[in-house]
């Protein structure tokens, strides 16, 4: 299978679109730079603007396998890098019987007894991959420090084996919800991309891409309402994924316009906190009634 190699920003944008992701100006450019320069990309932005999706779309577009490491509090090397399969080692020792200690020692510390975890997988893979390190801000700083060797040199040091260097250059995407400040050292090694909620037009395109049957006028109206909701001070503003869900819901409901009734019935798709629901009903619901009634 031929590996896709983009030759311009335009290529990347079209490629991503082909993979079902409408990239903004900066997203396409940074993705392009990442493939050309071989530098990891750090993507930050509010929840639900398509940070993870960007990595997935990249893997589809570049025709590479996606290796994903989901970060969480307390994630350690054994789960991220590699682990020795000590049970198998033990078996080897017992089965070896008479052979000398030196033989055994050489034997049990080789690839056969190594359990590869995502980061190791990405490095050791024969085919180039896309490595997604998701929600890096959930881990602690110690883990970040561990990543540095991988991110700058694409290699991992295993004390018993020495250095394992990447044979193929992975495209690395790190995402962060900005819940804590990442260290300078990590940022220094990455290209930085801030993803925000898209412009009205682009969000409309995204919605219509995922719900093509939705008439344009309704899609516009819907995105306008979603933006109105986002502009309120909510605990959790609606994400793009939720706009898409809402679009599909409206289709199912057979709605022709978003009036107050439709809105109140389907509001729970985009607003998910009790206090938020009250606030939205109070602010947005009222506006809808005003503007829709004359037509209805």
């Amino acid at each position: 299978m031929a590996v896709t190699e983009p030759s311009s920003v335009q290529d990347v944008r079209e490629g991503l679109e082909g993979a079902g992701y409408l990239a903004g100006e900066s997203a396409a450019l940074v993705a392009y730079l990442a493939t050309r320069l071989g530098k990891p990309v750090l993507v930050e932005g509010p929840a639900g603007v398509g940070k993870t999706e960007l990595a997935k779309a990249l893997s589809r577009y570049l025709d590479r396998t996606l290796v994903r490491l989901q970060c969480y509090e307390g994630l350690d090397e054994a789960k991220a890098l590699y682990e020795w399969n000590y049970r198998k080692q033990l078996l080897r020792i017992q089965a070896g019987g008479e052979s000398g200690w030196d033989d055994v020692q050489d034997d049990i510390f080789n690839d056969e007894f190594l359990l590869e975890r995502p980061l190791m997988q990405a490095i050791a893979s024969a085919e180039p991959v896309v490595l997604l390190i998701d929600e890096i801000d959930k881990t602690d700083q110690e883990f970040e420090a561990m990543l540095l060797e991988l991110l700058s040199d694409f290699q991992i040091t295993i004390p018993e084996l020495g250095q394992v260097a990447a044979t193929t250059m992975p495209v690395v995407v790190l995402t962060s919800n900005n819940s804590r400040e990442l260290t300078e050292a990590l940022k220094r090694r990455c290209l930085y991309l801030w993803l925000d909620y898209p412009e009205l037009e682009r969000e409309m395109e995204i919605v219509r891409m995922h719900a093509p049957e939705l008439p344009e006028a309704l899609a516009r109206r819907m995105v306008e309402v979603v933006r109105m909701v986002r502009s309120l001070d909510l605990k959790k503003p609606p994400s793009i994924a939720e706009s898409i869900d809402w679009a599909r819901t409206l289709l199912l409901m057979g709605a022709e316009d978003i009036d107050r009734e439709t809105f109140e019935q389907s509001m729970s798709i985009i607003v998910k906190h009790r206090t938020d629901i009250d606030l939205v009903a109070e602010r947005v619901g009222v506006k809808l009634a005003d503007s829709v009634r004359p037509q209805a």
């Binding site: 450019l29 940074v30 730079l33 320069l37 509090e73 307390g74 819940s179 300078e184 930085y192 801030w194």
Partner: protein, 466 residues
């Protein structure tokens, strides 16, 4: 070489590289950390993008140089200014002026028509179009001789004459209702106006005004109370994570673990009966118990909104938290915070039914300690942390530091956050010193940055810089 134009701006050696370096230097002077590796990256990135596209050029630079949202904001501000100035400097250097051609066609323009066009361009959001129209507008006004010479004043004057304002325009004399103008778009148009006026000025005088460092106002991220609230929540959730993980992991990992014999034996079956791996009884992590006392009197009015938002955030993060507000007497408000999620609602309820509506409205710290000790002294133990938010201004009443000392003794840790700068501590009726010596730590705290410092110190990390 002397020039007929007076002060000639320094252009440095020709070529892009020195200009880019100078730009990075300027970024550094504004506090963006641009390392050599970033500059190298920037050059590598620029080799990959076409330079004709201003957007691509800028994005490529930004992706390699500006590594946070705040950096990005500064970058945008400086990028525009720097390349604008460099281009203008170059123009003066080479004596390029647009001269007469500049406002061609302005004479033929009717103001109403211009107004219409500008409005359309703003609604459309077309950058190039807006720029051209901005120039036409300036020309039209220049003709009327209305220029005041001050860029900022002219911008507003032109905007008013054109009848541009954000929001729905009043539909006049039965004309078709005009589409509302987005504030963002209007700002963009004003930026173009400003830029073109500056260009005019530079061309007339053939000098560049000296570059000024960005004002604090420009640098700060746009803030509103709600955004502050979000920042407070972030700092507190960081505190929670730090308190929950860092503390225990290092303190009690090896020490005091007990071997679980039953599980060890069971695990040993896998390895042929050799107990290769010891199994331990899981250690129950201790729940941090936190008591927060918050001063809500008039002397800390400005800070109390901030403090209440800190409280609000704490309640979001910690389940074993009891909070109290006090002025002259103390009153527990844990319930209000637990049952009400909306911050404004909480603030309203505390002020109405917090039970602290005292007679005098003056803080009485001494009495507060007595009551606090009396009410919950049994519950305090070495595992609990007490945090006091207040200015320690007793209004001349008895501070009862010895009672405070008892509280400090019973509680495991006691911290004081003071909304006043350290400079003002112990001046006037502030008795901070009397209390400070019993605290495990006293901090000044009136911005989220201070709060982060506090979080770092409490969590055992390093104190934040400055």
């Amino acid at each position: 070489m002397p020039t007929p134009y007076g002060h000639r701006p320094e252009t440095g050696p020709p070529g892009l590289a020195p200009k880019l370096l100078a730009f990075c230097e300027e970024l550094r002077s504004e506090g963006v950390a641009v390392g050599t590796s970033e500059i190298l990256d920037a050059f590598a990135a620029l080799e990959q993008v076409p330079w004709e596209s201003r957007d691509d050029f800028r994005e490529a630079l930004a992706a390699t140089i500006a590594k946070s949202q705040e950096d990005r904001r500064l970058f945008e501000l400086l990028f525009d200014r720097w390349f604008f100035r460099t281009a203008e400097a170059e123009a003066i250097e080479r004596e390029i002026a647009e001269g007469g051609r500049r406002h061609e066609g302005a004479e033929r323009l009717d103001i109403d028509e211009l107004r219409e066009q500008i409005r359309d361009a703003i609604v459309e959001g077309d950058d190039g179009e807006m720029r051209d129209l901005a120039r036409l507008a300036i020309a039209a006004f220049g003709r009327q001789g209305e220029g005041s010479g001050v860029v900022g004043v002219d911008v507003q004057r032109i905007r008013r004459t054109l009848g541009l304002s954000a929001g729905q325009a009043p539909a006049d004399d039965g004309a078709a209702e005009l589409p509302p103008i987005d504030r963002e778009q209007l700002n963009a148009f004003e930026r173009h106006l400003r830029r073109e006026l500056e260009r005019d000025l530079i061309e007339r005088t053939s000098t560049l005004p000296p570059a000024r460092p960005l004002a604090e106002l420009d640098r700060a991220l746009p803030t509103s109370p709600t955004q502050d609230l979000a920042a407070v929540h972030r700092a507190v959730s960081q505190m929670k994570r730090r308190l929950a993980t860092l503390g225990h992991e290092q303190r009690g990992r090896r020490k005091g673990r007990t071997v679980d014999v039953r599980r060890t034996m069971r695990a040993s079956l896998e390895t042929g009966g050799v107990p290769l791996r010891l199994r331990h009884r899981p250690k129950r992590p201790r729940r941090p118990e936190i008591y927060v006392l918050c001063d809500v009197s008039t002397s800390v009015t400005s800070a109390s909104v901030f403090f209440l938002s800190v409280l609000h955030a704490l309640h979001d993060s910690f389940r074993k938290l009891r909070s109290f507000v006090f002025i002259e007497r103390i009153s527990e408000v844990t319930e209000i915070f637990e049952h009400e999620r909306d911050f404004r609602e909480i603030a309203a309820r505390i002020s109405s039914e917090g039970g602290v509506a005292d007679v005098s409205g003056y803080t009485d710290y001494g009495r507060v300690w007595l009551e606090f000790l009396g009410e919950i002294s049994e519950d305090l133990d070495p595992r609990s942390t007490v945090i006091v938010l207040g200015d320690a201004r007793t209004n001349g009443r008895e501070p009862h530091a010895e009672v405070f000392a008892q509280v400090a003794e019973r509680a495991g840790r006691l911290f004081w956050l003071n909304p006043e700068p350290k400079l003002y501590w112990n001046y006037g009726d502030s008795v901070m010193a009397a209390y400070e010596r019993y605290c495990d730590g006293a901090f000044e705290c009136w911005t989220t940055r201070h709060l982060e410092t506090f979080v770092n110190v409490v969590a055992g990390g390093v104190p934040a810089a400055d």
